[in-house]
C-alpha cells in the first residue's frame, strides 16, 4: 500500500514537472527572448542580409526560438552588439567577447565577461600574444567564433541517457528551494551542458585539422601539416569511433588543462613538454588513464609520425619545397629534429615499406592460391573429388526413388 502511494506521488510529480517543462518550451518562442528593443521587427526575416566587400554572405536573421534556447538566450542583442542604438546600424562595433554584458556573475556579484578566457587565450599558442605582442600572419590565428557558435543548451534527456526522468527528478529538488522555475531550469541546463563534451572525438579532429591540415598556412608558422597524426593508431581509433579514443585534446589539453590555454611543446607548462609527458600519457589526475605503466622513455617517444621536417633533413624530395612558405619549415627542421630522429625516420620508412609489401604479398599469394584451388575444385571430378560426386549421385537416386 505504502509503495502504491509512493508510486502515485512519483507519477503526479513527474506529470507536474512535465507540464512545467512543456510550459517552459512553449514560452521559449517569444517569452524568454528579451526582445525589448523589438529587434525582431526586422531581424525575423530570413533573407535579411547582404554580401560584404570580401564576398562573404552576411545574414542578419535571428531564429528567435533557437536563440532563446542558446547559452546566450538571456542576453539582449545590444549586450554584445554595442552601438545598435541607431537605425541604420552604422556605428556597430565588432563583437568583443571580453566586454562586460551586464549580467551579474553570481560568485563575485560583478558584471560578467569572458575576459578571463580571452586573456588566457591571447597568451596561448593560438592567441595574438599578451599585451602588445605581435605574431606573423595574425590573420591565420583562430578567433573565438572559429571554434564557438552560439551553442544550444542540451535538452533534459541527454545527460542521463535517453530519458528525461532523472533530470526532472533533480530539477524537482532544485525547485523546492529555488522557486523560480525558469531560473532553475536555466541554471540546471547551464551546468549540465558544461559536464559534457560538445564535440565528438571525430569532430574535434575535424575542427583542429580544418586549420592544421592546411600545409601552406602551417608552413608560414614553421609548422608541419597534421597529416602525421593520421598515421597514428590514435587516429585509427578515432576514425572507427572507438569510445574515449584519443583525439587532439586528449594529449594537448588533458584533464586539468584548458583548450584556451594551449601552449607550444617547448613551454614547461605544456602537457606535452618532456617533463609533463609521463603524467599526460599515464594518468591525467585520476580521471583518464590511458597508458598506466608509461615510463619516461615511453613518453619521450614521438607520437606523431615523422613528417616533412625529417624528410627534409633526410635529403628527400618534398613536394612543396619550392614554395616560399616552406622556408620557415626548413629553418625550423634543424632546430626541432635531431640526427637520431632522422635515422629513426629512415628506419621507420623502410619498416613501413617492408610490412606493406610483406602483408600485401602474403595476402595476394593467398588469394591467388585460393582462387586456383577454387578453379581446380570446379573441374571434372577425379581423385578427391569423387566423394563429392558420389554424394550428388546419392541425392539423385534419392530423388528418383
Amino acid at each position: 500500500m505504502h509503495l502504491i502511494t509512493r508510486n502515485w506521488i512519483q507519477v503526479l510529480l513527474s506529470a507536474g514537472i512535465l507540464l512545467f517543462c512543456g510550459a517552459g518550451t512553449a514560452s521559449t518562442g517569444n517569452g524568454i527572448m528579451p526582445d525589448t528593443e523589438n529587434c525582431l521587427l526586422c531581424h525575423r526575416y530570413p533573407a535579411m542580409g547582404r554580401f560584404d566587400k570580401t564576398g562573404r554572405k552576411r545574414i542578419f536573421y535571428i531564429a528567435d526560438e533557437l536563440f532563446a534556447r542558446s547559452v546566450h538566450g538571456k542576453l539582449r542583442c545590444k549586450n554584445c552588439h554595442i552601438g545598435l542604438d541607431q537605425i541604420p546600424h552604422t556605428n556597430v562595433r565588432k563583437v568583443d567577447c571580453s566586454t562586460k554584458c551586464h549580467i551579474k556573475e553570481p560568485s563575485t556579484g560583478r558584471e560578467f565577461s569572458h575576459i578571463n578566457m580571452v586573456r588566457k587565450y591571447e597568451a596561448s599558442v593560438h592567441g595574438r600574444g599578451a599585451a602588445g605582442g605581435s605574431k606573423p600572419f595574425p590573420e591565420d590565428l583562430p578567433t573565438c567564433k572559429y571554434c564557438h557558435s552560439n551553442r544550444m543548451y542540451n535538452s533534459l534527456d541527454g545527460l542521463w541517457g535517453k530519458s528525461e526522468a532523472l533530470s526532472n527528478e533533480t530539477l524537482a529538488r532544485c525547485v523546492g528551494c529555488h522557486t523560480r522555475k525558469e531560473w532553475a531550469r536555466n541554471f540546471y541546463s547551464h551546468f549540465t551542458h558544461r559536464m559534457r563534451r560538445r564535440r565528438t572525438q571525430d569532430e574535434v579532429v575535424k575542427l583542429c585539422t580544418s586549420c592544421h591540415e592546411d600545409q601552406k598556412k602551417m608552413a608560414r608558422h614553421g609548422l608541419e601539416s597534421i597529416s602525421t597524426y593520421k598515421d597514428t593508431f590514435h587516429w585509427v581509433q578515432v576514425k572507427y569511433g572507438v569510445r574515449n579514443a584519443p583525439d587532439c585534446l586528449s594529449c594537448h589539453v588533458p584533464v586539468g588543462y584548458s583548450t584556451h590555454d594551449i601552449r607550444p611543446r617547448t613551454d614547461p607548462v605544456s602537457p606535452i613538454h618532456l617533463s609533463n609527458r609521463v603524467r599526460t600519457c599515464s594518468n591525467q589526475g585520476g580521471v583518464q588513464v590511458c597508458h598506466p605503466g608509461a615510463t619516461a622513455q615511453f613518453a619521450s617517444g614521438r607520437v606523431h609520425a615523422y613528417g616533412v621536417k625529417a624528410q627534409i633533413l633526410a635529403g628527400e624530395k618534398v613536394p612543396d619545397e619550392q614554395e616560399p612558405e616552406m622556408s620557415a619549415v626548413i629553418k625550423r627542421a634543424g632546430m626541432d629534429i635531431s640526427e637520431k630522429e632522422v635515422f629513426h625516420y629512415r628506419v621507420l620508412k623502410l619498416l613501413k615499406l617492408f610490412y606493406k609489401l610483406l602483408i600485401g604479398g602474403v595476402i595476394s599469394f593467398m588469394l591467388l592460391h585460393q582462387s586456383m584451388h577454387f578453379l581446380r575444385s570446379r573441374r571434372k571430378p577425379h581423385g578427391t573429388g569423387q566423394a563429392f560426386s558420389g554424394k550428388q549421385g546419392g541425392n539423385d537416386q534419392g530423388r528418383c526413388g
Binding site: 521587427l41 535579411m48 564576398g55 562573404r56 545574414i59 537605425i87 552560439n150 542540451n154 613536394p319
Partner: protein
C-alpha cells in the same frame, strides 16, 4: 532447407572474403599505390603552379564561391540542425534559402541583389525573398497599371493562393508577389513567357555574343525596369498603399504591423536623414 542455408553461408562467406580483400588492399598495396599517385599529383600541381596562373585562379574561385555551398551539422542537444555553412556566423539560422527557380532576374543578379545603398541593401534583400523584383522595379503607367498583384510559387512559377497565414513565419514563404499589367485589354503577368524566354536565351548565348550585341540584349531585357523603383513608403503607408495587402491575403494583424507607426516612423526617419541617398541609389556611397 539445409542446402539453402549452406548456399547462403557460402554467399556470405564470399561477400566477406571480398570485403576483407578490399580492406586489406586498402591498407597495404592500395595505400602504396595511393601514395604514389598522390606524389605524382602533387608534383603535377607544383609544375602547374609554376607554369600557369590559371590553376591558382581556379582554386581561389572554388574557395570563394563553392565554399559557401558547404553544409554543417550542429547537435543542438535536442535535435540535429543542418544548415548552410556561413563563414564566421555565430548564430544558428536553421533556414534554407530555396532559390527562386522562376525569376529570371536572379540568374544574373543573384538572390541577394541589393548591395549599393548601405542603408537599404539588407532591407532590400529581406523583401526580395518574398517580393518579385518587378513589384518595385517596374512602374506600370497609364493603362498598363492595374493595381493587381498575385503570389507565384517559387519553384513552379504558377500563381498560387496567399501563403500568408496567421502564425506563419514572416518572409519565409515559398511564394513571391508579382504585378499584373494590362496589354490590349488583357490582364497578364509582368514576367510574360516571352520576356522569360528572351532572358533565358540571352544567358544561353551570352558567350557567343559580341559586346555590342550584349548591351543591346541587356537594353531590351531591362526595358521595363524603371529608373526610380518604388520605395519603402509606397507600401508602408496607412492609405493608398501600392500593394493591396487585403487582396494578397494578409491578415489584418499583419497589415497593422506593416503600416504601424513603428515601421512607418522608422521609414520616415530614414527618408528624412538619408533622403538624398534613397532617391539616388548608389551614387553617394563614398560620401
Amino acid at each position: 532447407m539445409k542446402k539453402l542455408l549452406s548456399k547462403l553461408y557460402l554467399l556470405l562467406l564470399m561477400a566477406f572474403t571480398v570485403f576483407m580483400m578490399v580492406v586489406i588492399w586498402d591498407v597495404t598495396l592500395g595505400k602504396l599505390v595511393a601514395e604514389f599517385r598522390h606524389r605524382k599529383l602533387s608534383q603535377q600541381a607544383t609544375e602547374m603552379k609554376a607554369g600557369q596562373k590559371e590553376a591558382s585562379e581556379t582554386t581561389t574561385f572554388k574557395q570563394a564561391i563553392l565554399e559557401g555551398e558547404k553544409r554543417v551539422k550542429h547537435y543542438l542537444g535536442y535535435r540535429v540542425l543542418e544548415q548552410r555553412w556561413l563563414k564566421g556566423h555565430f548564430h544558428h539560422i536553421d533556414f534554407d534559402f530555396k532559390p527562386d527557380k522562376h525569376n529570371y532576374c536572379i540568374n544574373c543578379h543573384g538572390d541577394m541583389p541589393h548591395d549599393k545603398v548601405k542603408e537599404l541593401r539588407a532591407f532590400g534583400n529581406m523583401h526580395a525573398s518574398f517580393i518579385g523584383c518587378q513589384t518595385c522595379h517596374v512602374r506600370l503607367e497609364g493603362s498598363a497599371r492595374t493595381g493587381v498583384f498575385k503570389w507565384y510559387d517559387r519553384t513552379t512559377g504558377e500563381i498560387v493562393d496567399s501563403p500568408v497565414e496567421k502564425g506563419t513565419q514572416a518572409g519565409a514563404y515559398n511564394a513571391k508577389i508579382i504585378p499584373f499589367e494590362r496589354i490590349d485589354g488583357r490582364l497578364q503577368r509582368v514576367d510574360t513567357p516571352e520576356r522569360v524566354a528572351f532572358a533565358r536565351d540571352y544567358r544561353k548565348n551570352e558567350k557567343t555574343l559580341t559586346d555590342i550585341q550584349k548591351s543591346k540584349a541587356k537594353k531590351i531585357i531591362h526595358k521595363i525596369v524603371s529608373k526610380k523603383p518604388y520605395l519603402c513608403g509606397d507600401c508602408h503607408r496607412k492609405e493608398g498603399s501600392l500593394l493591396p495587402f487585403k487582396e494578397l491575403g494578409y491578415p489584418q494583424e499583419r497589415i497593422n504591423v506593416i503600416v504601424s507607426t513603428e515601421v512607418v516612423g522608422m521609414i520616415h526617419k530614414y527618408t528624412e536623414f538619408y533622403m538624398p541617398r534613397i532617391l539616388h541609389p548608389g551614387e553617394s556611397e563614398e560620401k
